[in-house]
């Protein structure tokens, strides 16, 4: 795979109106969208957007209605011509090409072979059968009939629509229609998939189903996806990176956890306020770091150094010289250490919580799983790094803080000291 057909946007700007170029200096001066609209009647669709798609990732652009998401994604394949900026396509053979400066012929090549698109309202051709919709891009590529029908059937099967080849789009439900839209887009075997709110028109249940299938297909085919949504949970579920747009500008780019835990502006904070953090925030974020001043030494014994948490002298953590937790002593009795996933697989959690065993999880274990661990045991959950060294401890205060504030202690402290 390597870095095939991956995209970098540099300062992409789109202004609607009679003389868009004349507005660029105003934007440079830092004038806002509303001001420019009031004073000149021009609408700023996108202002100076820069981002980069890594190979094989799902990059989500999120923002409220009118924030410029559709305009931005349409600039990428030039359904809209950007007023300024570059859209660099990294091509394995031809090197870097600027889509924004490309002529009609070059554009057609990009659209037929490098990137395809899925639309919010499906945009299936109503006069074509399902199969002939799916093969539309292949037809434009000039493949012969037999080959494209073979491929078309393959991709239809991939989205679970075998047997629907000869039906017409209006005979299908919304979810099925968007499956056809997806099959049509992946069938061209372009490396980049542009999706403008593809699931927004679908019922919540169908939506989740489609998200899972998209992830499956994406992993199978190794496509790079630029995905637009205004649904934060959707963004968090499928996005490797999320860019948040406000008034035509990208105000923050980060992975879901960064956005959730560390929103950079008021707008982003409002956006993430109601998000469900349990599937996004990881153990290392909420854990109390296993170091001073939170933990203090409590003697040595049998080659292990013991520590206690400040204010909790009853639980002693015995750590060897590698930094690995070897013994947990609770009220003078040794408690067993189990792996979180194994323990949960072995025993169902019930009303009785264990006091003689605790669980250890990894730094990237999600909060939801840690909560299950806490239902299993009353003792603190231990967080380890990849070399099995203890890096943090999660007890009630950390869980409550993580869920309510969507923040870890470490970050709160940083913010307080800053």
């Amino acid at each position: 795979m390597g870095c095939f057909g991956v995209i970098r946007a540099e300062g992409v700007t789109k202004i609607f109106g009679p003389d868009p170029e004349s507005i660029l200096p105003l934007l440079k001066q830092g004038k806002k969208k509303e001001e420019i609209q009031r004073e000149t009647g021009h609408v700023v669709g996108v202002n100076n957007a820069s981002f980069e798609l890594e190979p094989g990732e799902v990059f989500v652009i999120m923002g409220l209605s009118g924030s410029g998401k559709s305009t931005l994604i349409r600039c990428i394949n030039r359904l809209i011509d950007p007023t300024a900026g570059k859209i660099i396509l990294k091509h394995p053979e031809r090197g870097e090409e600027d889509i924004a400066a490309m002529d009609a012929e070059g554009l057609r090549h990009i659209r037929t072979h490098e990137m395809s698109m899925v639309f919010q309202h499906f945009a299936l051709f109503p006069h074509r059968t399902v199969l002939s919709n799916v093969v539309y891009g292949l037809e434009i590529q000039g493949r012969d009939k037999k080959e494209r029908e073979e491929l078309g059937r393959k991709f239809l099967a991939m989205v679970g629509l075998e047997g629907w080849e000869d039906h017409y789009p209006f005979e299908l439900s919304g979810g099925m229609q968007q499956r056809v839209g997806l099959a049509r887009a992946v069938a061209t075997e372009g490396k980049v998939l542009l999706m403008d709110e593809p699931f927004s028109a679908l019922d919540p249940l169908i939506k989740v189903q489609m998200q899972n299938e998209l992830i499956k297909i994406q992993q199978e085919l190794g496509r790079t996806i630029l995905f637009i949504t205004h649904d934060l949970d959707e963004a968090m579920r499928i996005g490797d990176h999320i860019a948040i747009m406000d008034g035509g500008e990208i105000v923050q780019i980060g992975n879901p956890e960064e956005i959730l835990v560390n929103p950079r502006t008021e707008y982003v904070a409002n956006f993430v306020e109601h998000a469900d953090p349990t599937g996004v925030i990881t153990a290392s974020t909420v854990a109390l770091p296993f170091k001073a001043p939170h933990f203090e030494p409590a003697g040595e014994e049998g080659g292990l150094s013991y520590y206690v948490r400040h204010g909790y002298p009853d639980i002693r953590f015995g750590v060897d010289n590698q930094g690995c937790l070897q013994k947990l002593v609770v009220n003078g009795e040794e408690a067993a250490l189990a792996d979180l996933d194994e323990a949960l697989a072995r025993e169902r959690t019930g009303p009785e919580r264990r006091v003689d065993t605790t669980v250890q999880c990894n730094e990237d274990t999600i909060l939801r799983q840690v909560l299950r661990g806490r239902a299993f045991t009353q003792l603190p959950v231990i967080v380890r790094d990849t070399e099995q060294r203890i890096t943090g401890v999660i007890d009630e205060p950390e869980l409550i803080h993580g869920i309510l504030e969507k923040r870890g202690y470490a970050l709160t402290e940083e913010a307080a000291s800053a």
């Binding site: 037929t112 395809s116 639309f119 590529q141 049509r184």
Partner: protein, 300 residues
């Protein structure tokens, strides 16, 4: 001073006497000029293809045995619309045959078919052009208005002057008179195609030509068919009028009947025309309602 009084009085009582715009003379001179300049051109380049097409269709229709014709008609009506329409068409045509004007019916049908064929050949490309170039459409609109609102009789005079009398001038007048709906509705149908489909086709790398053929025209087809239906009806009405300048068929029955005050003969021709109109209307409407594009529209 006193001279002024009668002049003023005359102006007040008839203000239009003062200035005379000689439109009559201008038009006469203009038409004369056109006739003198282009007659040769029209007779050598426009007449032959129209005449040839018409004669071929006429030969095919008149030499087909009526029973075979009726069988084919049934199949066409059935495939295009429904078996009911097929049956209706057969009964209507048979009735005209039993009235004794089968041959005239075939002549009229071949005139209409020729006119409609040329309307499509010229009108659809013009409609496409209108839909793609706004300046062309702007220029075309007054022309279309003139073509449609000019009383049909007015076409006949220059047609006769250019082509003499007979079927061909009648056909030319019919083609001009009946073409506007095809142009208008082709244009409208293409412009009405939703941008999301154009956008999707573009996003998959289609050329403008591919978009036209693969997306716009198929989706505009129901509207174009509605235009075709109107064109057929208009050409049928004009073909009757064209009997005045020597076009044959059912129109001639009506015209000749009226001239000789033979009400019965005129009526037979009239009934034949009405039945033909109904059959053609049902069949083309059926055609327009078929096809996935219009079915998709209905299910919305």
């Amino acid at each position: 001073m006193n001279d002024l009084v009668p002049v003023l009085g005359g102006f007040l009582s008839d203000p239009f006497d003062l200035i005379d715009i000689p439109v009559r003379e201008w038009v006469t001179e203009f038409v004369n000029w056109i006739v003198a300049t282009f007659r040769e051109f029209f007779r050598t380049w426009i007449s032959p293809p129209v005449r040839g097409t018409m004669e071929a269709i006429q030969w095919a229709l008149t030499s087909t045995p009526p029973l075979i014709f009726l069988a084919v008609l049934f199949i066409i009506g059935w495939r295009a619309a429904s078996w009911k329409v097929g049956l209706f068409a057969v009964i209507a045509f048979a009735f005209v045959g039993f009235m004794g004007v089968w041959y005239e019916l075939m002549i009229t049908l071949s005139l209409v078919a020729t006119a409609v064929l040329f309307c499509l050949l010229i009108g659809v490309p013009l409609g496409i052009l209108c839909s793609r170039k706004d300046w062309f459409y702007t220029g075309m609109r007054p022309v279309l208005d003139i073509m449609q609102t000019t009383p049909p009789f007015v076409y006949l005079v220059p047609a006769v002057m250019l082509f003499s009398i007979g079927n061909v001038p009648g056909l030319i007048a019919t083609i001009i008179f009946a073409m506007p709906p095809t142009i208008r509705l082709t244009n409208l149908g293409i412009r009405q195609v939703q941008t999301e489909f154009i956008e999707a086709a573009t996003a998959f790398g289609s050329t403008p030509r591919q978009i036209l053929w693969k997306v716009q025209l198929p989706l505009a087809l129901p509207t174009i068919m509605a235009g075709l239906n109107q064109t057929i009806m208009l050409s049928l009405s004009m073909v009757v009028i064209a009997a005045i300048i020597g076009a044959g068929g059912l129109g001639l029955e009506v015209y000749a009947g009226l001239e000789r005050l033979n009400i019965g003969q005129a009526f037979v021709g009239g009934i034949g025309i009405v039945l033909l109109a109904m059959v053609l209307d049902r069949i083309t409407q059926g055609l327009g309602d078929k096809g996935p594009a219009s079915r998709a529209k209905k299910s919305e």
